[in-house]
Structure formats: structure tokens, C-alpha cells
């Protein structure tokens, strides 16, 4: 049965041949152009990725200019530092950093625990009963700086002393940093700029008129110590240890809590409730939750975990011992924040120079001490006065003996802090000292008020739970039905089937999904900010109830600071973070490839 199609021969359905080919060519041309746009899109995405990596690498490596605060030749009358013997090196220390000798002894040759250091005799400290009998029974703080230097000369080796002199007296500082590209292609102009305007500026600022640039060299901001030192307010000395430990701790909490709950929910959804109302509700809800901005989870965590459940998340209901630190360890913990400035509270009458005050003020800024930020203008003198005022308030609020007095005064370019009541550290109680420290720096690190690793970890659990559930559901769904039927056929109950057949088969998939979501959690910043990650923390978190910081928080903090060198260490921290995530992702891929079961 044919259908007749009537064709009107008089009408032309096709254009003339020439016009047809012209149009066809034009159509194909348009196609090629649009393909070009597609290429452009893809390559722009690739380019953005490249630019991002390049930018990070460019900042994390580069050239730096170093300056000696005191030239070694001046210390030694022209002799090379390596030619000096122990006694001469120790004398240099005694001459320039007499106030810090005890700290140096404690850090190098002391044989006693840090907590006992202040109450130990000289003989105990050096661990040598045959030490000069005149000194053996004395407390270290009661002997003269020269005698202390003598101890150093006798018990420390020459290399250590030489390094001490370099670190404490010569005190190299980074005055400028340049990114990798400049360092490679423009080294001459970099050099000229460091030796010219930057050095001039440095001399004026630090009042070191004869400072010279010692060396301009290539520098990797990412180095071994970067991973092993804690936070510092001097970029060149800062590290990410606490942040790294914090991130790993968060990961641990997230996995331990989210994995069982997420897998449980997925099992329920896939194996138990197939078409019920609850099933639909949960599934829709999980998918909606996956689209909620992460900062909202942070706010949920702040209200629930940090505040409402504070007794639980701060460890109070477990009678968790907050490790109330002894005086010695407080100083140990606080001191790095002050960057070895002579205002280490314990020193008797410390003379602090302007640069140190600036550094201390800087530290205070990190802690967000209101009494300082209130006057937080750029005028150093003003800030120092604020600092003095803060110290005065701090000292005022400590119940100390009435006959002891304190004195904070301004002398020319120096600020002299005579903090007499706390000079005798052993004499004041731990409580008093803690009260003082809390007042002084408002750090409050000893009772984190629910702003703990646990709170943040649980917040991240809520954040990644939807992703884990969705992934686990898919993994469980991928287990073929015959496996289950075979199991039932052998008389297994439903739970036995799930536990012995389905879960083992789905495990690689579940693990892969979990690792990927944890890798996302590691990079999350916003919720951690909201639940109150510490912005400046020099102590490592020791338990789920500790204050914490994390890598992304550290990157954010450093990025937000204006000084150039913080951008460098932020880049270095980014490399650490990306490496951590890469490791996790690689683990997920290996897991998927090696253990996944093909049915």
C-alpha cells in the first residue's frame, strides 16, 4: 500500500547548487567557530587551575634578603665566629642577652624537667655534682650572668654555643621576600631593591643604622621546620604543627562519628525501608542538606555543640582534667607567643625595645585583646601605651603581696616593664598566675568553653553526613540482588545477610566515598571559623576537649594579614593542605582500584 506524495514540481525545495554549497560552508564555519569557543572554555578552566598552582608555587618559593641585627665581626673584633672558643662565645651571650641566659640554659643543657627548673639547684640542672662548689646548691636565678655563662661554656658544646650566638645575638631577620618568578628572572633588580630602598627603610624602622644585608638567597618557605614548629607572629619562624594536628584530629572525629551513622542510615534506606514515606522523606532531606551552605552548618554547630552541649563538648561532664598547667609549662606555652622577647614575665626587670613592643602588640592583636584593639591604630607609641595599660590592668587584678610593687614606664624609645610581683615566679601560686595570664592575653586556653576540637568535629560530621549517606547508598545498591537472595536461601536473617554479605561487598565503595567526603571536610573553613577555631594557638590539641586550630584556618588567618611574608607562609600552608588532600584522594583511588569487587 503505497502512499502517494504529491510533489509540486513547480516549487523548488532545494536552493540552487551554488547557493546550497555556500550555505553549507557557512554552516560548517559556524560549527568550527563554536567548537573554538568550547575549546576556549575547557582550556580556560585548565588555565585557571594552572594559574592557581603557579600562583601558590610562586609565593611559596622565592628569594629573601637577610639582615644581621649585630654583625658578627663587631662581636669578635674581626675574628671569624668559628675561631672563638667556648668561653669567648659564652661571654658574648652574657654581654648581650644576660636576661635570657637562664632560658638558654633550660633549653640547652638543663637535665631537669621544665616544671622543676625554677626550683632546681645548679648541680641538678647541669647534672654534675662536681660543679663549682660555690654554685652547686644555689638556685640558678641567684647566680650572676657571668657565672651562668660559665655554666654554658662548660657544659654546652661549641657548635651549640655558636648557634646560640647566631640566633640570639646576631639574630638574622628576613627583611624582604620576593616571589619565585622575580627570583629567577629578575634577580639583579631584586638584589638592587633589597640593598637599596628596603634596607634603608629597615634601618630607619629598626634604628639599626649600620645594618647590612648579609645574604640574598633562594628560600623555600615550605621546609621541615615549617611542619614541626607551632604558630608564631614572625612569618619566618612560623609553622603549622598545631594546625596540622588539629586538622588530623578533626578528620579522626569526623570519620569515627560520621562513618557508622552514615552507613547505618544508608543501610536502612537501601535494605529496610524501600518505598515508605519515611524513606522518601529522609532521601529528599539528605539531598537538600547536601545543598545547604557550609557556613549554616557552622552556625548550627555554634548553637548546638558549642553552646547548648558545652558541658559535653568541653568535657565537663566527664570531669575531664583540663591539664591545669603548672607555672613552668605556662611560660613554656606562652613564651613562644612573645617570640622570645625579653618581656617573658619572669625576667626581673626587662628592658624592652620598640621592636619587641611592636611584636608583643602584634601578638596581642592576634589574641584579639579588646583593650588593645580599642586603641589599635598604627601609632606605635600609642599602642605601647595601650600595652602598658593592659599589663597594668593585668597586674592589678592579681592578688599579690602588698609590699611588692610594679612599674611600667616610658623611657625615650624604650619601654621598661618592671613587673616585680611576678618576677619571683615560684612565689606565686598557679591559680594566681593563670588569672594573670588570662587577664594579660585573654587566651583562656585552659577552658575552651565548648569551642573545642570535638565541637568542630561534630559540626563537620553533620556537614559530610549527607555525602557519606549518598555514597554509601550507591555502594550498597551496587551489590547485586542475587547475593542477598543466596544468603536468604541459606537461611540467613536479614541482618546476617547485611552484615556478612552486603557490607563486605560494599565496603570498598563506602570507604572511597567516606575518604572523599573527609577530604572535603579537611578543606572546610567557614564552619570552623563560626564554631570558634582559635586564631592563634601555639599549643597542640591534646584531647577532643582542647582548643584547636586547623590548616585552612591558618591559611585564612595568614592570607588576611597584610604583611607580604604571611602570603608566603600561607602559600606554603596551602601546599601542605593540598598534599594532605591529595594523599587522601590517592588513598581513595587505590582503595577503589584494589579492593572493589566486580560481580
Amino acid at each position: 500500500m503505497g502512499v502517494l506524495i504529491e510533489v509540486d514540481k513547480s516549487k523548488r525545495y532545494m536552493p540552487e547548487e551554488g547557493a546550497f554549497y555556500r550555505r553549507l560552508r557557512a554552516r560548517h564555519r559556524r560549527g568550527r567557530w563554536s567548537l573554538l569557543f568550547n575549546y576556549f572554555s575547557v582550556s580556560l578552566a585548565a588555565l585557571a587551575l594552572l594559574a592557581l598552582f603557579f600562583n601558590v608555587a610562586n609565593q611559596a618559593f622565592g628569594a629573601i634578603g637577610l639582615v644581621n641585627t649585630i654583625e658578627p665581626q663587631k662581636l669578635t673584633n674581626g675574628r671569624p665566629l668559628d675561631a672563638l672558643n667556648n668561653n669567648e662565645l659564652a661571654l658574648i651571650l652574657a654581654e648581650h642577652v644576660s636576661g635570657r641566659l637562664r632560658v638558654l640554659i633550660r633549653d640547652t643543657i638543663s637535665q631537669v624537667a621544665v616544671d622543676d627548673f625554677t626550683s632546681a639547684s645548679v648541680a641538678e640542672i647541669v647534672g654534675d655534682a662536681k660543679v663549682d662548689p660555690a654554685l652547686a646548691g644555689e638556685l640558678l636565678k641567684n647566680i650572676s650572668p657571668e657565672q651562668q655563662a660559665g655554666l654554658l661554656a662548660k657544659y654546652a658544646d661549641r657548635g651549640t654555643l655558636r648557634n646560640l650566638v647566631l640566633d640570639e645575638v646576631v639574630e638574622q631577620q628576613v627583611i624582604a621576600s620576593f616571589p619565585l618568578v622575580d627570583a629567577i628572572f629578575n634577580f639583579d633588580s631584586v638584589k638592587a631593591e633589597i640593598e637599596g630602598p628596603i634596607l634603608q627603610d629597615f634601618r630607619r624602622r629598626e634604628r639599626l643604622d649600620d645594618a647590612e644585608v648579609t645574604i640574598i638567597r633562594f628560600h623555600s618557605w615550605l621546609h621541615n621546620e615549617f611542619l614541626t614548629t607551632p604558630m608564631s607572629s614572625i612569618p619566618a619562624l612560623a609553622g603549622v604543627r598545631s594546625a596540622l594536628i588539629g586538622s588530623i584530629g578533626l578528620m579522626a572525629v569526623a570519620v569515627v562519628v560520621a562513618l557508622p551513622i552514615g552507613v547505618g542510615a544508608a543501610i536502612y534506606l537501601e535494605e529496610y525501608a524501600h518505598h515508605g514515606f519515611i524513606n522518601r522523606l529522609i532521601e529528599t532531606n539528605v539531598r537538600n542538606l547536601a545543598g545547604v551552605p557550609s557556613i549554616i552548618y557552622g552556625m548550627l554547630g555554634l548553637a548546638i555543640f558549642v553552646r547548648a552541649l558545652a558541658p559535653f563538648t568541653s568535657g565537663m561532664i566527664f570531669h575531664y582534667n583540663f591539664d591545669v598547667p603548672t607555672v613552668g609549662s605556662v611560660i613554656e606555652r606562652i613564651a613562644p607567643a612573645f617570640e622570645g622577647a625579653t618581656i617573658t614575665i619572669r625576667s626581673d626587670a626587662a628592658v624592652v625595645d620598640v621592636a619587641t613592643v611592636e611584636r608583643v602588640v602584634d601578638t596581642f592583636m592576634f589574641y584579639g585583646s579588646p583593650s588593645l584593639t580599642m586603641h589599635g591604630n598604627s601609632d606605635l607609641r600609642e599602642m605601647s601605651r595601650s600595652l602598658a595599660e593592659a599589663l597594668r590592668i593585668a597586674v592589678d587584678s592579681v592578688p599579690v603581696r602588698a609590699d611588692e610593687d610594679y612599674d611600667i614606664e616610658l623611657r625615650g624609645d624604650y619601654y621598661r616593664f618592671d613587673v616585680a610581683p611576678i618576677s619571683n615566679v615560684a612565689a606565686i601560686s598557679d591559680d594566681t598566675f593563670n588569672a594573670l595570664m588570662a587577664n594579660l592575653v585573654r587566651i583562656n586556653s585552659f577552658s575552651p568553653n565548648g569551642r573545642t576540637l570535638l565541637s568542630a568535629g561534630l559540626t563537620l560530621v553533620l556537614l559530610i553526613l549527607p555525602i557519606i549517606i549518598i555514597n554509601a547508598q550507591e555502594a550498597i545498591r551496587a551489590v547485586p540482588q542475587p547475593i542477598r537472595e543466596a544468603s536468604y536461601g541459606l537461611g540467613a536473617t536479614r541482618w546476617q545477610t547485611i552484615w556478612h554479605q552486603v557490607l563486605p561487598a560494599a565496603l570498598p565503595g563506602i570507604m572511597t566515598g567516606t575518604i572523599l567526603s573527609v577530604s572535603r571536610a579537611v578543606g572546610e573553613t567557614a564552619p570552623l571559623i563560626v564554631v570558634g577555631a582559635a586564631t592563634f594557638l601555639v599549643t597542640d590539641p591534646t584531647s577532643p576537649f582542647s582548643q584547636f586550630t586547623a590548616l585552612p584556618i591558618q591559611i585564612y588567618q595568614w592570607t588576611a594579614r597584610p604583611q607580604g611574608q604571611f602570603a608566603n607562609i600561607a602559600a606554603a600552608a596551602i601546599i601542605v593542605l593540598l598534599a594532605l588532600m591529595l594523599t587522601l584522594n590517592a588513598a581513595a583511588i587505590i582503595l577503589r582500584n584494589r579492593y572493589s569487587i566486580r560481580f
Binding site: 585548565a46 529496610y272 552556625m299 541482618w495 573553613t525 600561607a570
Partner: protein
């Protein structure tokens, strides 16, 4: 398997089997427990959603109901004991913030306002004609100039017929109350030592165009005459023109005299110029006797006697005007006029005018009695009078009315509040002594939250628009970047790329998607911003700007759009493409006209999810877009987004018991609702408009 040889064993097995079949009917408690705990895991996600809504909602409610006490710059005027429910506050300008039903705080005690009378007296000087004009203006005219109809008109001349007519048009029948007599004083500066008296004719010459003093009388200095006169709207001017110049002011105005409605300015002008001469109400002369020199007219100087017996030529009556209807509608007006009529005789001489004769005053009181229908003039207790009073008009009568008003206020006509005591708890009721500041509650309202364009928590300004604006700016820029690029990449990957290329490119996009956003923030600040500044100029582009943040957010969501869109494109069956090719379409035509429309619902859903992601993105904008809300449409300005603000505020030393803390939850709720709606919308689009093949 061979048959079991032992029949007992077989039997045993059968028995066992039957038992194990029965197993099905046994309640398997551990299985139930397991199932329940698994269900609990599933329900946790629902609790999370409920938790988010509860937390955000609860804190937002606290935000909108939290008391924000603001000092009203007013204090209570007299002591209050525990039982007092009515009290007065210091007089002054409007207390707009205090409304009936609102709450106030006195000391630490919170009270609810049951009744509020903002008793105050507003006096305007508009000149007599001006006063009548605004009194008898239509409501529309009044609205145009933004003025309320005065209740009383101060007049230094009787109302004219034209004014009576225009008053009748708005239903006002003017009622004049004579309150005293003024003598128009002709004055010169105290420095003027050549005039002691003038004749009426000389006065006419001076004020009708004479240029020099020597023209007036031989012996006067040959210096120009400076004329200082009240403005044309004043009753004084009208009176002078009528009495002295026979109603013709043209010649006077042609000399361009110094004019002012404010008599104090006139006094100043005359005082400073030795050759000036002017006129105004006697009261102003009386107040400035040292600076001025009064000029006798035809040998008669104005005094109580000469004014009263009519021998001084320029004496004139003073009135206040009101209306019986207005007095009925405004009890306070009736009371005030009665008070005025009873007390004017005590103060008028002190103000500098002359009392009207007792007969005239009695007439005025009779008018009041007739207008109100009362039997006699009552004794008014101003402490019981409530309602605003307004008067406008003559500057001559002004000091008199002002003095009466002061006496009225002094006798107790003050802003008055009736309150419910001890609103919170009830045990906070305490006596308060005079002088305690009155604070009113200025809690942010939802309307203010969504309409105001300032977000300054320090001064209680909570308008979320600048934050939303910045969020929309960055999101729009992000979509401008991500939309074409993401779709282009998706089309390429799905339609053009060979499997091998796809295998390399997809992980690349996944890496892009997996990088933490804080790293993107760093990228925006240290790479994109310097790039923008290099291109557009350092002066144009701020260090922190929404443009840079938006572009990088766009880069962040390219993988999201491309992967979701690619899935959608991939799901289009090949038969469609083949049919298109079969009709002779090129590849581009197939993609644009067949594949993309077929996958449109998926692509649309991808866009919506991407928008939601861009709106919720925090770290990039927190680092690169700037700190500090700013209502700006320029992509080169810094502006803080909703998420950026939450991050910054909560990152600081946040006190839980502060409006700042509550405010971030209000922002968070806005953000949550916004993104949640977008996510639901994308779901609906996928489900409803998906083409199924």
C-alpha cells in the same frame, strides 16, 4: 549426597527443620533493635534539618524581639513611687519613638505605655497674614508645604474680609479674642543724636521714598536714610501702611528697605546703623531700651496713658484668633484660650504691651463662653490638659503667647505617660527619682531589616540590603563567568571530545572542584585582584573588590555546572542526534537545536544549584570581597556579603549575649531560605520538566 542411614537422625533433622521454620514467627529482638538504630541514623538527617531551622529561627526571633534601649534624651520630671502609673517627662521636641503599646525603660524597670500625650506647644512666626493663610489653607495646600493647621493665630490686626472668606471655604469661622494693645514704636539707633521727635508728615516722607535725612528737615545730617521695617506678611507692616501711608506701600518698598519677619533682627539692624529708622511692636522696644531711641510723634511718645486715651496715633489692638469648631474638637485649645484670657493681664505689661481695657477683656471672655456653651470661665488646671497646641502668626503677639505658653507648661502642661509598671517579671518595680533618663525600645523590625540600606550594628542600624546586594553582585559575576564556560566545557566533553581526551579532562575538572575554597580565596586576593588592578588601574579597583571574588567564585563553580550539564547532555539518546544528522544538520545545529533543548531541564537545574552554591560560598568572598558592608553596584568596590559578614563577626570575640550574635543568625536564616528555595526549585525543575526517552 546419600540418604541418611539412621532414621532417628532423619527424624531429628525433620524436627529441627520444623523448628527452624517456626523461627519465622519468633520475635527477633536483636533484629528489631538493629533496625530501629539504623532508622535512628536515618532520622538524624531530618533532625539536622529541624535543628538548622530551629536554631536559625530561634535566634532570629531573639534578634527581632531583643530589647534595644535607646536614650530618649529626656528624663522623668518628678519622683515616682512604686504605685505611680502616670508621670511627666521633660518638655522638648517630638518624642516620636515613644508610641502607645511600646515599651520604655526608666532606670532598670521596663514599662508598657498605655497612654501617651506628647503635650507641647509649638509656636511659629509667619506674620499675621501668613498665620491666617496657613490657618485657612485647604488640607491639600497644607500637605504641600508640610505644615499642620495651627490651632491659634496670633494677629496684630483684625482679620480682613478676604481672609474671612477663605476661612469660610474650609469651614472655619474666625473668632477674635482681644488680648491687649500694642503701640507701634518708631525707633532709631541709640547712637542717633539728631532726632528727638517727628511730625506725622515727616514720618510719611521718611517712609515714602526720601533719600537723605537732610531732605526731611533742615539741620539733619546729609546722610542716606536706612529704613528697617517688618516684612510684608506681618500685621505690623499692614497696620503701618494703612495708618501712615494710606494703604500705599509701593513707594516704601521701592526704597528696598531692610526687611525681616523677625523683630530681633530688626532691632539689631537699627542698633548698628546711626542713620537708620524703623518701626515695630512696642514690646521689642521695651526689651531693648538701651540700644534704641524712641521717637515721639507730633510730640506724643507712646506710654500706657497715651495709648489708653488714644492720643498716640500708632496704637493698635492685639488678637488671638480661633474657631468654635476647633475649640470643640480640641479640648486643650478651649482650655488654653481660657487660661490665656485669665492670665494675660498678669504678664502683658511685663512683655511690653498695654493691657486692653477691662470691658474689652470681658467681651473676649463672653465670646469664649458663647463659643463653648459654658456658664463661666473655669479655672484651668494645665496638669490635666492633654494634647498638642500650635500657634502661628504675628511676631508682635508671639512674645505674649509665648509667655502664656511658658506659664501653661510651668503649671503642668507636659508630655505625660500612663504606663503599666514592671513589665518583665513584676518584681522589678521600684521607685524612681526625678531626672532618671527615659529609654525607649528601638528593636529592629522585619520591615527595617529588609528595607534599610545600612548595616551598622554599632548604632542599631540593621538593614540587610547591602549584604544581600553584595551577595547578588558576586553571584551574578560568578554566573557570568561560569555559565558560558561551564556549558561550553560540558558541550565539548559530551559531544566533541574523544573518550581519551574526556578521560584526561574530567579528572582535571574534578581537581578544580576538590580544591578547598580558602585556597581559591588566596588565589583571588594574590592573583585575580592584582590582575584586575593591572588591567583597570590601581585607582579604579579596590584591593578588596566584589569583581575579583565573583570571578573566582565563577571558576569554582565551572566544574559543578559542567559536570551536571554533561550528565544531562549525556542522557539525551543518540537516536535524536542521528535523526538530526539524517536531516542534514551540522554538528553545531544538532547540539544547539536538538541536544541542548532536550537536556534543558538538567542544564537549568545545574544553573540553579550553581547559583545556590555561589550565594552560599564563604571563604572566597570573606578573603577577597572586603570587610564592611557597603551598598555599591560597582564590581571594583569592596563590599561584604552575607556569608562574609557571618564569618567575620563570628570569627571575632563574639559575645553570645549580644545583638551582633543574634543578627548573624537572622542573616543566616535569610541565606538558608534563599539557598533552600533554589535547591528545591532545581529539584522541581528536574522532576517536572525532564524529558524521558
Amino acid at each position: 549426597m546419600s540418604e541418611p542411614e539412621n532414621p532417628d537422625l532423619t527424624l531429628h533433622l525433620v524436627q529441627r527443620k520444623s523448628r527452624s521454620l517456626n523461627l519465622k514467627h519468633r520475635v527477633k529482638w536483636h533484629e528489631v533493635v538493629i533496625q530501629m538504630s539504623l532508622l535512628a541514623c536515618g532520622l538524624l538527617s531530618i533532625f539536622t534539618t529541624i535543628g538548622i531551622i530551629l536554631v536559625l529561627g530561634n535566634e532570629s526571633i531573639s534578634f527581632f524581639t531583643r530589647d534595644q534601649w535607646v536614650n530618649s534624651n529626656r528624663a522623668i520630671l518628678s519622683d515616682m513611687d512604686e504605685s505611680a502609673t502616670e508621670f511627666t517627662v521633660e518638655p522638648g521636641k517630638a518624642l516620636d519613638a515613644i508610641t502607645v503599646g511600646g515599651t520604655i525603660r526608666v532606670g532598670q524597670e521596663v514599662m508598657e505605655i498605655v497612654e501617651f500625650h506628647n503635650n507641647r506647644f509649638e509656636l511659629d512666626v509667619l506674620g499675621t497674614s501668613g498665620g491666617f493663610r496657613s490657618w485657612c489653607a485647604t488640607d491639600a495646600q497644607l500637605a504641600e508645604v508640610g505644615r499642620a493647621r495651627p490651632l491659634i493665630v496670633n494677629a496684630s490686626r483684625p482679620i480682613q474680609q478676604a481672609e474671612i472668606d477663605s476661612c469660610a471655604a474650609v469651614g472655619i469661622s474666625p473668632l477674635a479674642f482681644r488680648v491687649g494693645t500694642d503701640a507701634l514704636a518708631i525707633v532709631a539707633s541709640a547712637d542717633n543724636d539728631f532726632i528727638s521727635g517727628l511730625t506725622f508728615a515727616e514720618l510719611q516722607r521718611i517712609f515714602s521714598g526720601a533719600a537723605r535725612w537732610s531732605d526731611i528737615r533742615a539741620g539733619f545730617p546729609d546722610d542716606p536714610i536706612t529704613l528697617v521695617i517688618p516684612g510684608e506678611d506681618s500685621g505690623t507692616f499692614d497696620f503701618f501702611v494703612n495708618e501712615v501711608l494710606d494703604g500705599d506701600a509701593a513707594a516704601l518698598l521701592a526704597t528696598e528697605p531692610i526687611r525681616s519677619e523677625n523683630d530681633n533682627q530688626l532691632v539689631g539692624s537699627i542698633k548698628r546703623d546711626r542713620y537708620s529708622i524703623g518701626f515695630f511692636g512696642y514690646a521689642y522696644y521695651a526689651k531693648n531700651r538701651e540700644d534704641l531711641r524712641i521717637i515721639a510723634l507730633d510730640g506724643v511718645a507712646p506710654t500706657a496713658a497715651t495709648v489708653k486715651d488714644g492720643s498716640y496715633a500708632l496704637a493698635r489692638p492685639l488678637f488671638i484668633y480661633s474657631d468654635a469648631g476647633l475649640m470643640r474638637d480640641h479640648a486643650q485649645l478651649k482650655d488654653f484660650i481660657s487660661f490665656y484670657l485669665s492670665h494675660v493681664k498678669d504678664v502683658i505689661v511685663d512683655v511690653g504691651y498695654f493691657a486692653a481695657s477691662p470691658e474689652v477683656m470681658a467681651q473676649a471672655r463672653n465670646k469664649w463662653i458663647r463659643a463653648t456653651g459654658a456658664v463661666e470661665i473655669p479655672t484651668i488646671d494645665p496638669a490635666a490638659v492633654n494634647g498638642e497646641l500650635t500657634a502661628a502668626g504675628s511676631s508682635t503677639v508671639f512674645p505674649l503667647t509665648e509667655r502664656i505658653a511658658e506659664a501653661f507648661v510651668e503649671a503642668g502642661y507636659l508630655p505625660r505617660l500612663r504606663v503599666k509598671r514592671g513589665l518583665r517579671g513584676g518584681n522589678t518595680i521600684a521607685p524612681h527619682s526625678a531626672g532618671v533618663a527615659l529609654e525607649y525600645n528601638d528593636r529592629p523590625t522585619i520591615i527595617e531589616f529588609f528595607t534599610h540600606t545600612n548595616w551598622i550594628p554599632a548604632i542599631g542600624e540593621f538593614g540587610v540590603i547591602p549584604l544581600i546586594n553584595a551577595t547578588l553582585m558576586t553571584s551574578a559575576i560568578a554566573m557570568l563567568v561560569a555559565l558560558p564556560l561551564g556549558l561550553g566545557a560540558a558541550i565539548y566533553l559530551s559531544e566533541y571530545a574523544s573518550p581519551r581526551v574526556r578521560k584526561t579532562l574530567k579528572p582535571l575538572l574534578e581537581i578544580l572542584a576538590g580544591i578547598p575554597t580558602v585556597v581559591y580565596g588566596y588565589f583571588a586576593l594574590t592573583f585575580m585582584t592584582p590582575l584586575l588592578r593591572a588591567v583597570f588601574g590601581v585607582d579604579v579597583v579596590n584591593i578588596y573588590n566584589t569583581g575579583s571574588a565573583g570571578i573566582v567564585v565563577g571558576i569554582l563553580i565551572i566544574p559543578l555546572i559542567s559536570s551536571m550539564s554533561e550528565d544531562a547532555l549525556h542522557a539525551v539518546p543518540n537516536a535524536l542526534r542521528e535523526a538530526s544528522y539524517g536531516l542534514g544538520a551540522t554538528k553545531l545545529e544538532t547540539v544547539i537545536k536538538v541536544v541542548v533543548p532536550a537536556a534543558l531541564s538538567g542544564i537549568l537545574a545545574a544553573f540553579i544549584v550553581a547559583v545556590s552554591r555561589a550565594i552560599g560560598e564563604t571563604m572566597i568572598v570573606a578573603i577577597a570581597a572586603g570587610a564592611g558592608p557597603n551598598f555599591s553596584f560597582s564590581p571594583f568596590d569592596s563590599a561584604e556579603t552575607m556569608t562574609g559578614h557571618i564569618a567575620r563577626i563570628s570569627g571575632g570575640d563574639l559575645s553570645y549575649d549580644s545583638i551582633d550574635y543574634n543578627s548573624i543568625f537572622a542573616i543566616g536564616l535569610t541565606l538558608f531560605v534563599l539557598t533552600f528555595m533554589l535547591n528545591v526549585m532545581s529539584r522541581v525543575i528536574i522532576n517536572r520538566f525532564r524529558e524521558i526517552y
